[in-house]
């Protein structure tokens, strides 16, 4: 395992497109954090900085960060399709890696990137929480940290799907296009088509994004205004929808297992010339 990781590390750290995409990811991450508080000053009464307080900061920041997962998936797609373009899968096979190890190598990469992103998100949320919170108790600060586990799963799920697309299509540009189209076009369109049916919540990309939902803003602001009269949430029509959390997590686990299974099948049958 360490051997495989080390090989992957040498490949990645010297690969310019990886450095650039990772830079973009970090930039998007920090820019977001700079812009949100700046925008905040222009909105009276409702302050976005309320969202940076414990325990809401965990859920809110996870929701903000989730779309950047697409950049992580792009890294996985690029590095995998490059192995086909450079015929280096073949070289690694010849010198003694098995087909399963080739896949394991990429899955380890996916796991490391997912852990890295989760750690980054966790540290940022913690820092912002510490800055913006008035009341600071350990119990309040640690509430909602469960969302990090869901984020880890969602980024792993995204990248596994990216890996499957890359192994299936092999061409870098086409794989990137396919993946982006799935996320920004196919999934939303299917979601619209199925808008009256329960089935729409079972779409693979949808279940993944649903893992890290938008926090319950009404409740947060209600708490802030300290209103004694509860607002009728259903009237506002942003009641959180979708599958029950456990079913949603189960569906993502199922889709991810399927993606890994099909990646394995593809790897076993591939002709590496």
């Amino acid at each position: 395992m360490r051997r495989l990781l080390h090989i992957e590390q040498v490949k990645l750290l010297n690969y310019n497109p990886f450095r650039i995409t990772l830079g973009l990811y970090l930039l998007a991450f920090t820019l977001g954090l700079i812009i949100y508080p700046a925008v905040d000053k222009e909105i009276p009464v409702i302050s976005l900085s309320d969202l940076f307080r414990f325990p809401d900061v965990w859920v809110f920041l996870t929701w903000v960060t989730e779309p950047y997962n697409i950049l992580l998936a792009l890294i996985v797609i690029m590095i995998t399709t490059k192995e086909f373009n450079n015929h280096t899968f073949k070289t690694q096979l010849i010198f003694g890696l098995s087909r399963s190890e080739l896949l394991l190598q990429k899955l380890l990469l996916v796991a490391v990137l997912a852990l890295f992103a989760t750690l980054l998100l966790g540290l940022t949320s913690l820092t912002l929480g510490l800055i913006y919170s008035y009341k600071l108790t350990f119990k309040i600060a640690m509430e909602n940290t469960w969302i990090l586990g869901r984020y880890l799963l969602s980024s792993f799920a995204y990248m596994s799907l990216g890996l499957l697309v890359a192994l299936l299509i092999k061409n870098t540009a086409l794989s990137l296009l396919t993946f982006i189209a799935l996320r920004v076009f196919v999934d939303p369109v299917l979601f619209l088509i199925l808008r009256k049916q329960e089935l729409r919540w079972y779409l693979p990309m949808r279940t993944t994004t649903q893992l890290t939902p938008l926090p319950d803003l009404i409740e947060i602001f209600q708490r802030k205004l300290n209103s004694s009269e509860p607002i009728n949430e259903s009237a506002m029509d942003i009641l959180p929808e979708g599958l029950p959390a456990w079913l949603n997590i189960l569906m993502v686990l199922l889709y991810t297992s399927l993606a890994v299974f099909f990646s394995y099948r593809l790897m076993q049958r591939q002709r590496f010339t």
Binding site: R3, I7, T88, K90, T91, L93, F95, G96, R99, R271
Partner: protein, 298 residues
């Protein structure tokens, strides 16, 4: 002698093209085995299957007498077609990856780069190398860890005459050190210079195999003529002097059995009261013999 590679009934097709059919080969320790055949005869397919790059349709093969698995390939140095490395990494880093795959320390890198005369370029990116240098790096990678078995597929492909000589020198040295070599080539002289054994492939089928000396031995062929060729022909047919006998443009073309000299044929004819008035030696070159072997089944 220990068995290194044993191939049984190997077959592979690509869509409508039959790449190899029912191939059997046995390679034992210390042999320098040439796989000879024209382009498209299935050499690369065979080596790609035994090095795990592609899967066969039928048949099986054993490395070191065992079912094939990835870890065996760590003890085999292979170069299949053109070498492929990470273009954006320098030579040293590329070879470090190979060392990691093989699970061996990095200290052998300098030695193989010296052997391939690439030591000065070890910090250059792979993409900056010339074709010949890339090929030499492929050989350097194959030599990493000093494996007992080398599998080389057209190692001199695309090289200039100097490069060809250098690569052959490296390979010959390995053979002299007692390594087992499996070398695919379409160049007869290459196989003849380097190999002890040869298998000749054509359209994916094994035409012949055996020691180079036997298989590519120069048969003595002579053409003769006398006043009555028909009678001479009949008489010669019953003797152990000739292996083959053909009539060509009114001449008898004889392929002599081993250790039979033309003088014996002459003496035999004279003893049968036939005077040979035409006798010419037709030495078959290896090249034409190879071409003949390959042409035979057209």
């Amino acid at each position: 002698m220990r068995e290194i590679l044993s191939i049984q009934g190997l077959s592979k097709s690509y869509k409508n093209v039959r790449a190899i059919r029912n191939l059997d080969l046995q390679i034992t320790e210390g042999q320098a085995y040439g796989i000879l055949g024209p382009n498209g005869s299935g050499k690369t397919t065979t080596l790609s299957i035994v090095t795990g790059i592609i899967r066969q349709d039928r048949g099986s093969f054993l490395w070191f007498g065992k079912e094939p698995e990835a870890s065996q390939r760590r003890n085999i140095g292979s170069l299949i077609e053109t070498p492929h490395f990470y273009p954006y990494l320098n030579l040293e880093r590329n070879l470090k990856i190979i060392c990691d795959i093989k699970g061996m320390p990095y200290r052998d890198i300098n030695r193989v780069l010296e052997t391939a005369q690439l030591a000065e370029r070890k910090r250059s990116r792979f993409s900056t190398l010339s074709l010949g240098m890339k090929q030499r790096l492929g050989i350097a990678a194959a030599l990493l860890g000093d494996p007992r078995v080398l599998v080389l597929d057209e190692p001199t492909n695309g090289l200039d005459p100097e490069g060809i000589a250098e690569v052959r020198e490296i390979v010959l040295q390995q053979v002299q050190e007692g390594k087992t070599l499996i070398l695919a080539s379409h160049i007869l002289s290459e196989v003849e210079k380097i190999c002890t054994h040869v298998a000749i492939l054509k359209k994916g089928e094994l035409l012949a195999n055996g020691p180079v000396k036997e298989l590519l031995a120069e048969d003595e062929i002579i053409e003769i003529s006398c006043d009555n060729n028909e009678i001479l022909r009949e008489k010669l047919m019953d003797t152990p002097l000739v292996k083959e006998l053909e009539t060509e443009n009114g001449l008898l073309v004889l392929t002599l059995n081993e250790k039979v000299s033309p003088a014996e044929v002459n003496a035999f004819a004279f003893a049968n009261k036939l005077v040979i008035h035409h006798m010419l030696s037709r030495k078959r070159s290896l090249e034409s013999q190879f071409l003949e072997l390959v042409k035979e089944e057209k």
